[in-house]
């Protein structure tokens, strides 16, 4: 077995519901990260739903030396409950109740402590199905949920605790640095890793996990959908939904407290992180970067053609393509010979695509708007004058940078990192100026006006074009950003091992964070 105190694996990446089994933005980011740090060795902890079929969607790079698969709620049966387990529940109830209401790292540490050194042998028999566990469930129910549907509470309790235990029971792969790519379950695992190993943990949060959960849970009518006759059920359902959310906030807080660095893609996320309890001194922005070399070389076609705009993205509701189509209708009033492309796959939501085409017909835009489908972006960028982005939700859409590197300004809604990319971060110095226009959400007139201004005002256009290109070069060059991660990894890799839990009676939880 590898030496616990001096592990050979450099980085253990903790991935929840993403790489390498699910394709998408975060997965691509992870894949690029591993390949960019080719001389560091990686171990992957992949966290996935209990029954999900796992198929690798990526060619795993050779510097990945191992993989641990963890299933949420996937507990072994484990040993039978005996008298010696009784004490566990006495110690467990306090920190568990706090973890499910306003938890943090100290509670997580207390839970790990309570489970004790023999937790590898425990499983659902002891922790979920035993009489002592049942009595603890009743205590927790009575302390705050006595009016709630017991059936709902029962399943909620099992799901929450089963999920938590399933992060704490598996053996911890040794590594010099732990790096979670989201909070949530991955965050719990990272916090646990830091606590148990004394090695530093990092967090890169792309979207704000608790926000996504909040939306998901509040919209989840099916969560507690069975008809009911009992009093106060609606209220109690709300209570149980709050329980879910508070628990996830607690997981995030524990992760924030245990990690040495809390990295996100753009400043806008940091307000949420602070709100969920992240210490401000650990916050850092490292945006996603693009291959500036490649995109800056794109040759722009000359002026002897009609002006053109493009929306680059999948034709799905979240991109709000309909607003773009309406904007095109308004834009045509101002610039009759304008061409508008929609560049992106149309097969993901067939119904939405059909509705978009009907809208094009209604507005008689057949000659102006063209669905070009999946295209080679480099070819089109040479012919596009401005890009539009009408999404109602984004993290850090790279198209703004890819177009920006080619000197194409953008008109984008004020979501995710769009404002930062177009106007510059607050800390930007010297100020590079605006690289396009930021608009309200779902406002076709604003989008059309912005595009018309870019296409009609030559001087403004040139200014934006220069600004966005320069900003992309300075702050969003993937090459530079890879180096930033490299430096963070290096400094944390060399950190001395902090006293781990259980090795020292006077374990100082706060001494965890590597001073780097």
């Amino acid at each position: 077995m590898t030496d616990r105190m001096n592990p050979t694996t450099d980085v253990c990446l903790i991935l929840e519901g993403t790489y390498p089994h699910v394709s998408g933005g975060v997965s691509t980011w992870t894949h690029d990260l591993i390949r960019a740090q080719a001389d560091l060795s990686f171990h992957l902890v992949t966290i996935s739903p209990l029954h999900a079929e796992l198929r690798e969607q990526y060619q795993i790079p050779p510097n990945v030396t191992g993989m641990t698969r963890v299933r949420v709620q996937g507990l072994p049966q484990g040993a039978r409950c005996t008298k010696k387990h009784l004490g566990i529940f006495h110690r467990l109830e306090g920190p568990l109740s706090r973890m499910l209401s306003r938890g943090g790292m100290q509670d997580l540490a207390a839970i790990i402590e309570a489970l004790g050194p023999a937790r590898g042998q425990m499983g659902s028999r002891v922790l979920l199905n035993s009489i002592p566990a049942w009595n603890m469930l009743l205590d927790m129910y009575h302390s705050a949920y006595r009016q709630s549907s017991f059936l709902d509470y029962f399943w909620t309790w099992r799901a929450l605790l089963g999920g938590l235990y399933s992060m704490l029971l598996p053996e911890l792969p040794p590594a010099r640095v732990y790096h979670a790519v989201s909070t949530g379950y991955a965050g719990v695992f990272a916090a646990r890793a830091a606590l148990e190993s004394g090695r530093p943990a990092l967090l890169t949060e792309h979207g704000i996990y608790t926000n996504e959960r909040r939306i998901e849970i509040s919209m989840a009518d099916w969560l507690y959908e069975l008809p009911s006759r009992h009093l106060a059920v609606d209220g109690s359902r709300q209570n149980l939904k709050d329980l879910w959310i508070r628990t996830f906030v607690g997981y995030s807080r524990a992760c924030y407290e245990a990690c040495s660095r809390i990295i996100t893609l753009y400043e806008g996320n940091q307000a949420f992180q602070l709100e969920d309890g992240a210490p401000s001194e650990k916050l850092q922005v490292i945006p996603n970067g693009i291959d500036f070399e490649r995109f800056s070389k794109i040759c722009r076609e000359g002026a002897r053609r009609s002006p053109s705009v493009a929306l680059i993205g999948r034709v799905v509701p979240i991109k709000d393509v309909k607003t773009f189509i309406r904007a095109c209708s308004i834009l045509r009033e101002m610039i009759p010979d304008v061409t508008a492309w929609i560049l992106g796959p149309t097969d993901e939501d067939e119904d939405y695509f059909r509705e978009c085409r009907i809208l094009v017909q209604h507005l008689s835009l057949e000659k102006t708007v063209e669905f070009a489908g999946r295209v080679r972006l480099d070819e089109y960028l040479g012919r596009v004058d401005a890009i539009a982005l009408t999404s109602i939700s984004e993290a850090q859409p790279l198209v703004i940078l890819e177009a920006g590197a080619a000197g194409i300004p953008a008109v984008a809604t004020d979501v995710g990192a769009c404002r930062e990319m177009i106007h510059g971060r607050r800390s930007e110095s010297p100020r590079l100026g605006e690289g396009g226009v930021v608009t309200e959400l779902s406002n076709p007139t604003a989008t059309a006006t912005g595009l018309a201004r870019l296409l009609g005002d030559r001087a403004f256009y040139e200014k934006c074009s220069r600004a966005i290109r320069e900003r992309t070069r300075r702050y969003y060059n993937k090459h530079d950003l890879d180096r930033t991660y490299r430096e963070i990894y290096e400094s944390h890799r060399r950190c001395p091992t902090a006293p781990a839990m259980g090795t020292d009676k006077t374990w100082p939880g706060s001494a965890l964070n590597c001073a780097s």
């Binding site: 519901g17 949420v72 049942w134 549907s149 099992r158 799901a159 379950y185 792309h206 059920v233």
Partner: protein
């Protein structure tokens, strides 16, 4: 965005607490019927026969009927319990189209398998005249037919028409016997008795086909989940074996009788016991009809309210109601059956005198009456346990009874005539004590039992 989408839908929708329970409960209740029928029929025959005991012919007839009831019951039990459950399940999901097919199919299976044992026994081993051999075999299969048919009717909960069919059939049989006992030979008596049985079987079959007017269509592929049902089949077998094991052990007694036909029995023990069993008929009737209304209502409410999102407070309340109902029933039954038992034991000499029974049986009879009291209380307890899907516990209790009954009876056999019947009593008392402990243990923590132990979604069965 990384992260796992919610998987809760599956978790909260797995609400299969209630559905599976009813079938099991029903199977347990249904198994009291055949025993009741056996008691009445055999005690009746013994009573009638005791007046003609001198006649070898009448005695042979009695023994054939006893043999047939005993072995048919034990050998049919696995299939009978299985179809009880299958039927209850298909009634629960409201798909009873295949009920007639199930009826005929199980009859064929039982007849075919039992023929393999019955034919050699009556055609080769036993020495009887040809007519008696055939009549005995017909009798055996009619008895089997009664077990199968009664499954379908108890499932209908149409106790009135079932009771009516049985009453008419048994009366016809017993009258036939009484009339023929003094004059006819074995064949004649068997035929008379068979007529009564045939009335029952065909009346019940007619009722079944009227209730399930569906064509019998093959192929008969029943989705049998062997893993889930073996306990049931085994349980039925053990339950019925346990009822008979003490008689079979006693057939080894030095006082036993070997008929010229080659059939063995110990008539004093058998008839003493059959008569003793008669004393629990009132308790059984009270249980079957009383428990169905009072307890079952509380029981259903407990599960229904859980599914209707009751708070734990409310669940506790409904749990309390179940316990109170059970205690009340238990108390009433104990008082009723206890008094009947006492009176019967005290008045035994008078009863024997009145019915003209042999006084050699009186000790066995008294032990039997007292044993039957505990036996019936134990039986009710296991039925209650089955209601809560505690099949393993119920099965274990049957095993306890089977082994103690065999063991203690064998021991009483060693101790001599004065102790005959004491083994059965002791076995019943011990098993009842164990059953009571099990019931207190399981039903006392019913919410835990329901949510965790017997919850299919939790146990992942």
């Amino acid at each position: 965005m990384a992260g796992i989408g919610f998987e809760l839908r599956k978790l909260t929708r797995r609400d299969d607490l209630l559905g599976v329970l009813q079938g099991t409960a029903h199977s347990a209740l249904a198994s009291t019927g055949p025993w009741l029928f056996t008691i009445v029929a055999l005690a009746g025959i013994v009573l009638i026969g005791s007046n003609f005991v001198s006649r070898e012919e009448s005695f042979t007839f009695q023994l054939i009927v006893i043999y047939n009831f005993a072995f048919s019951l034990v050998m049919s039990a696995p299939v009978v319990l299985l179809i009880t459950r299958l039927l209850a399940d298909s009634i629960y999901v409201k798909q009873v189209e295949r009920a007639p097919a199930l009826f005929l199919f199980s009859l064929i299976v039982l007849f075919a398998s039992q023929l393999l044992l019955v034919a050699p026994f009556y055609l080769l081993y036993v020495d009887l005249d040809a007519g008696a051999r055939l009549a005995a075999m017909a009798n055996f299969f009619l008895v089997t037919g009664v077990w199968v048919a009664s499954v379908f009717l108890t499932a209908l909960k149409d106790y009135r028409s079932v009771s009516a069919s049985f009453a008419v059939g048994v009366t016809a049989s017993l009258i036939g016997c009484a009339f023929l006992a003094s004059r006819a030979n074995v064949t004649g008596m068997l035929l008379g008795f068979n007529i009564g049985l045939a009335i029952i079987v065909f009346a019940l079959a007619a009722r079944i086909f009227a209730e399930y007017p569906y064509p019998v269509t093959g192929p008969l592929r029943w989705r049998m989940n062997a893993g889930r049902y073996w306990e049931l089949a085994l349980g039925g077998f053990i339950y019925n074996l346990a009822i008979w094991i003490d008689k079979w052990v006693m057939w080894l007694a030095p006082e036993r009788k070997v008929l010229p036909s080659g059939m063995v029995s110990y008539p004093d023990y058998d008839s003493g016991m059959f008569l003793a069993y008669l004393s629990i008929v009132p308790a059984m009737a009270v249980f079957v009809f009383g428990v169905e209304t009072d307890f079952f209502e509380k029981y259903l409410r407990f599960y229904r309210e859980i599914q209707r999102h009751a708070s734990y407070e409310a669940i506790r309340k409904y749990h309390g109601a179940i316990i109170r109902s059970l205690l009340r029933s238990m108390r009433n039954l104990s008082v009723l059956q206890g008094s009947i038992c006492m009176v019967t034991i005290l008045l035994a000499p008078m009863i024997f005198d009145l019915l003209g029974l042999s006084f050699t049986q009186i000790g066995i009879f008294r032990f039997g009456v007292l044993g039957a009291l505990f036996h019936v209380l134990f039986l009710f307890t296991t039925i209650i346990l089955s209601y809560f899907d505690l099949r393993r516990a119920a099965l274990l209790l049957q095993l306890v009874f089977l082994s103690t009954n065999a063991l203690f009876t064998w021991w009483s056999l060693q101790m001599g005539f004065a102790w005959y019947g004491y083994g059965y009593l002791l076995a019943a008392v011990v098993t009842f004590a164990v059953a009571l402990l099990a019931a207190v243990h399981f039903i006392g923590r019913l919410p835990y039992q329901t949510f965790v132990r017997t919850n299919l979604s939790v146990q992942g069965r």
